[in-house]
């Protein structure tokens, strides 16, 4: 049989645990009280007994057993309630007193009295007293009724039981209330999650304005859901794009192969096959680029960082592309400050810069001036700017172009995977660098802001 849900909650278990601790504390408290109280009372009794013994001896004036006998008899006769006297001779026979003979044990002793003149209603109860040696080998005992002790014990036990019971009831009661309350909040979160899993990604967990842990949890979960929703939307977009972008070359590929089949001459077939290989290569390029972007975004390369001489790398890059630009009738200029150092990936950074410079070369007409510049800005890291005086990118597209497969209308027909800027963005993110597109008046300005080598993390 399964316990009702709320009894299985952590909060209830915690409550039971706390109840246990409280009971233990109560136990200890009462224990201490009893111990102290009982100790006090027994001390009192012992003192009284001792005082009485002393009094008896004094009253015996002298100390012979006979004198003592007389005194004890007198005291016994006039014994106030709860006082007990006993005198034994050396042989253990009772000489005087109001209780039955006892074994002659010296010191403080406790025993259960039986009725014998002066007892209470026949009920046995505790007597506590002092036994001392009497002259001539005798034994004198004076004792008091320890009924106070008993009463105290009883009272403490009773109140202890009441206390324990109250604690348990309170603990379980409040625990249940708490659990039910907490459970309700947890249940809200669970229910919302179930709704989301069922497909409604726009649902969010309600936040009560109490600013407690549950609210924080709800807020965090909601933020996570926002992110997931964005990613899912992005994913759907990408899937559509991939499907679209790969269908085209694959369709061409298929068409060419069919043509190859129908080819008249071997040369025709060879040519068709060559073109098919090109198609396949372009598809493979897309996949390789996608794979690289995914790997970079998964931060699998963050540990391969080394100190990079950025000035040298950029100058090198500019030198490489100067001739390529010249062939296109463009000019490549540099303005790179010396001694710039950053922490980075030796393989990925060249790809980043190469991509950006090549974009400028490919998308700008003859006569464009492309500039590669870099400088250190105190307190703001190292800034790299790649600018061109070409057509630029419209302001409303400047964040979109970083999306996978996004192409500006006018570039739709040019060769390329459409992944270049996504790759740049991924590499920049890996380096904790900011990448921005802006207007170069005219043209495009790509700004990259890196942390300097000694500014890391």
């Amino acid at each position: 049989m399964q316990l009702p849900r709320f009894l299985r909650t952590t909060s209830f278990r915690l409550t039971v645990l706390y109840a246990g601790f409280f009971c233990a504390s109560v136990l200890i408290l009462f224990g201490v009280m009893y111990w102290v109280g009982a100790g006090f009372i027994s001390d009192q009794i012992d003192q009284t007994a001792a005082a009485e013994v002393a009094e008896v001896r004094t009253a015996a004036h002298g100390g012979s057993l006979a004198a003592l006998r007389g005194t004890v008899t007198a005291y016994s006769a006039n014994a106030s309630r709860g006082m007990y006297y006993l005198l034994l001779d050396a042989k253990g026979a009772k000489l005087a007193g109001n209780i039955a003979p006892l074994a002659p044990v010296l010191g403080v002793r406790i025993w259960a009295a039986r009725d014998e003149g002066g007892s209470f209603n026949g009920t046995p109860h505790e007597v506590r007293g002092l036994g001392v040696a009497a002259p001539e080998g005798g034994y004198l005992f004076v004792g008091l009724d320890a009924y106070e002790l008993e009463e105290m014990r009883e009272m403490i036990s009773r109140s202890f039981l009441v206390g324990i019971l109250a604690t348990i009831v309170l603990a379980l009661g409040s625990g249940s209330i708490l659990s039910v309350g907490l459970l309700r909040r947890v249940e809200t979160i669970s229910q919302t999650s179930r709704d989301i899993i069922a497909g409604d990604l726009s649902r969010r967990i309600p936040v009560r304005a109490t600013n407690d842990e549950f609210d924080h949890l709800a807020a965090s979960l909601n933020a996570m859901l926002d992110r997931i929703e964005t990613l899912m939307a992005g994913l759907q977009e990408v899937s559509t794009d991939i499907a679209h972008d790969l269908r085209t070359p694959l369709t061409r590929h298929r068409q060419r192969l069919e043509l190859a089949r129908a080819g008249n001459s071997l040369a025709d077939v060879r040519l068709a096959l060559d073109r098919s290989i090109e198609d396949v290569d372009s598809i493979l390029d897309t996949f390789t680029a996608l794979l690289r972007i995914t790997q970079i975004e998964a931060h699998t390369r963050a540990t391969a960082f080394a100190t990079i001489d950025l000035s040298a790398m950029l100058n090198d890059m500019a030198e490489t592309y100067a001739s390529v630009a010249e062939e296109q009738g463009q000019t490549l200029a540099t303005n790179v400050a010396g001694g710039l150092l950053i922490m980075g990936d030796r393989e990925l950074l060249p790809q980043l810069f190469s991509n950006l410079i090549e974009n400028a070369i490919r998308h700008c007409p003859a006569g464009t001036v492309i500039t590669v510049a870099a400088a250190a800005t105190p307190g703001h890291g190292v800034v790299v700017e790649i600018t061109d005086t070409g057509p630029g990118i419209p302001a409303d597209m400047r964040t979109k172009v970083f999306q996978r497969f996004f192409r500006l209308e006018r570039s739709r027909t040019t060769e390329g995977t459409g992944l270049g800027l996504s790759l740049c963005a991924a590499i920049a993110a890996l380096h904790n660098a900011v990448i921005l597109l802006s207007d170069n008046h005219p043209g495009l300005k790509v700004t990259l802001r890196f942390q300097t080598a000694n500014q890391t993390v």
């Binding site: 490489t320 062939e327 060249p350 790809q351 090549e358 490919r362």
Partner: protein, 225 residues
């Protein structure tokens, strides 16, 4: 050359076998890691081509084991991964070169030839000569016949590479990796541009171009013009 190929994918193995036999090499194939390691250590080979993903012992472990055991045969590593860190780990393990599948026949053959050039000990030569073209490594100067040629640093590096591989086809990818340290495919014709510039700079009136373009493969520097 006597080549051992350790590759578990039959089609790839056939593809490679065909390409290499046509180029005149003798090829043996091992289909799993353990068998491959056994055969690699059991015989003398001019070149080992090892696939990274293998059943039994994986390619990376084979390379490490061979190197640890003192085997100095050149190793070409193959992989479908093409991951950003795989190249470095392969080279770190002791491989001499690295190819991502799929690759063109021409690429494979060019690299196999380059690796097969033995002995690998670089003679303490300070000048490279091909025909009447002379490159001085110390002075960083180039001359054709008795005419000095002024080259940019990158052009010098490019010519040096071509001359070290004189008589062999070098692919675009090989040049990008060795001369530019680019481990990606640029979207512009970086290599072509530099080759054509270099070509015109070392051109000598009345003589054929030393640098030839081999269609579908790459470039070739040859004195037999």
């Amino acid at each position: 050359m006597k080549i051992l190929l350790i590759e578990d994918d039959r089609e790839t193995a056939e593809y490679i076998a065909r390409g290499l036999s046509e180029a005149g090499h003798t090829l043996s194939v091992a289909a799993d890691g353990r068998d491959g390691l056994f055969r690699a250590t059991g015989e003398q080979w001019d070149l080992l081509i090892i696939d990274r993903m293998l059943p039994g012992v994986d390619g990376l472990s084979i390379v490490r084991t061979l190197r640890a055991g003192g085997n100095v045969a050149p190793i070409l590593f193959l992989t479908t991964l093409g991951g950003v860190g795989d190249r470095v780990s392969g080279l770190d393990a002791g491989a001499d070169d690295y190819l991502t599948k799929p690759f063109a026949f021409a690429e494979l053959i060019a690299r196999v030839n380059a690796l097969g050039r033995r002995p690998r000990e670089i003679k303490a030569e300070t000048t490279l000569r091909v025909g009447d073209l002379e490159l001085d490594l110390l002075k960083r100067t180039v001359r054709r016949g008795d005419k000095p040629i002024l080259l940019q640093p990158r052009e010098f590096k490019l010519l040096e590479y071509l001359m070290r591989h004189a008589g062999e086809v070098v692919t675009r990818t090989m040049l990008l990796e060795s001369v530019w340290d680019f481990h990606f495919d640029p979207r512009t014709n970086v290599v072509e541009t530099h080759i054509s510039r270099l070509r015109s700079k070392i051109h000598r009136e009345g003589f054929d171009d030393l640098i030839q373009t081999v269609r579908g493969a790459g470039y070739l520097l040859d004195a037999a013009a």
